[in-house]
């Protein structure tokens, strides 16, 4: 019985969250959610936009919401934000000249490790 109440309370909570940013389709809701989780709050830098309560994060949430509602794609919204705030706003850095080392360093280190291992035990 108690667990049912708990479940109900949880359901009411999530329903309440969606009233703040009502969207027409489930697809848009999913897009809005995953965009907010992928975007960094620029004030409290290790929180995403969904979690942050900073003033700027609220404004950016509203900005993303309006763009999702207008039917813009992920790449359009992300382009709009990175043109203004740089790649730093993305938790997932894009692959380009300056980030190649970031993406491939683990492979390089693994390779170096294998070479050392092979040389040592041959």
């Amino acid at each position: 019985m108690r667990s049912i109440f708990l479940l109900l309370a949880l359901l009411i909570n999530t329903a309440h969250a969606e009233v703040l940013y009502p969207l027409q389709t489930a697809k848009q809701e999913a897009q809005f959610k995953h965009l907010l989780a992928d975007l960094r709050c620029l004030v409290c830098q290790n929180q995403d936009l969904a979690d942050s309560n900073a003033g700027l994060a609220k404004d950016l949430r509203a900005e993303v919401y309006n763009r999702v509602k207008d039917g813009q794609s992920d790449s359009e919204i992300i382009q709009y934000l990175t043109e203004r705030y740089g790649d730093f706003i993305l938790f997932n850095p894009p692959m380009k000249g300056i980030t190649v080392f970031l993406w491939f360093a683990p492979l390089i280190f693994l390779g170096v490790g294998f070479i050392i291992f092979w040389r040592r035990f041959r």
């Binding site: 620029l42 003033g55 700027l56 404004d59 043109e83 203004r84 730093f88 050392i116 040592r120």
Partner: protein
């Protein structure tokens, strides 16, 4: 000899990592890249304390500063003495009143002085987002053609002014 060389490899990798991270410690994570530098100022129209409309076009034709400020911003008060001094020197400064209430802003200006030629009210912060603002105060240097040439985040000081802004303004004003 060769075996010893390979055994030392992890140590050298460790040293390289120490150097990388040591340098990383000196970086300020709150200093974000200014992606808008070199691009035109986005055009906007804002009210000035509920009255006349102010257009970003009025900034064209001369080198000017666009200062993002608010009465709730503590560092803005520190900065105001510098801005007043610059206004006296003849620098044209425009104010973007960021997410403020009109009454607070007016009171604040009468207390700390008004260095601004014009003030636009960005009540919902939309213009600030368009500019890539992430915290007041911020100061943008705009050239004659409305291109953003420099951006400073945080309170402006005379040291920063002399070092970053003054030489750039001299250069921009010499170009026709």
């Amino acid at each position: 000899m060769k075996a010893l060389h390979w055994r030392l490899a992890p140590f050298f990798i460790f040293l390289a990592l120490v150097l990388v991270f040591w340098r990383g410690l000196a970086l300020d994570p709150h200093h974000l890249p200014s992606t808008k530098v070199g691009q035109p100022l986005p055009s906007f129209q804002l009210t000035s304390f509920g009255e006349t409309k102010r257009s970003s076009k009025s900034m064209l034709g001369h080198v000017s500063l666009l200062n993002v400020w608010a009465s709730w911003c503590m560092a803005c008060a520190d900065e105001q003495a510098v801005l007043m001094r610059l206004a006296k020197q003849g620098v044209s400064i425009y104010g973007l009143n960021y997410k403020d209430s009109m009454d607070n802003a007016k009171e604040w200006l009468s207390e700390w002085g008004n260095p601004y030629q014009q003030i636009g009210e960005d009540v919902d912060g939309k213009v600030a987002i368009n500019l890539g603002v992430y915290g007041a105060p911020e100061t943008f240097l705009i050239d004659k053609n409305g291109i953003i040439r420099y951006r400073h985040v945080g309170a402006l000081t005379m040291v920063i002014w002399e070092k970053e802004f003054a030489p750039l303004i001299q250069l921009l004003e010499s170009v026709e």
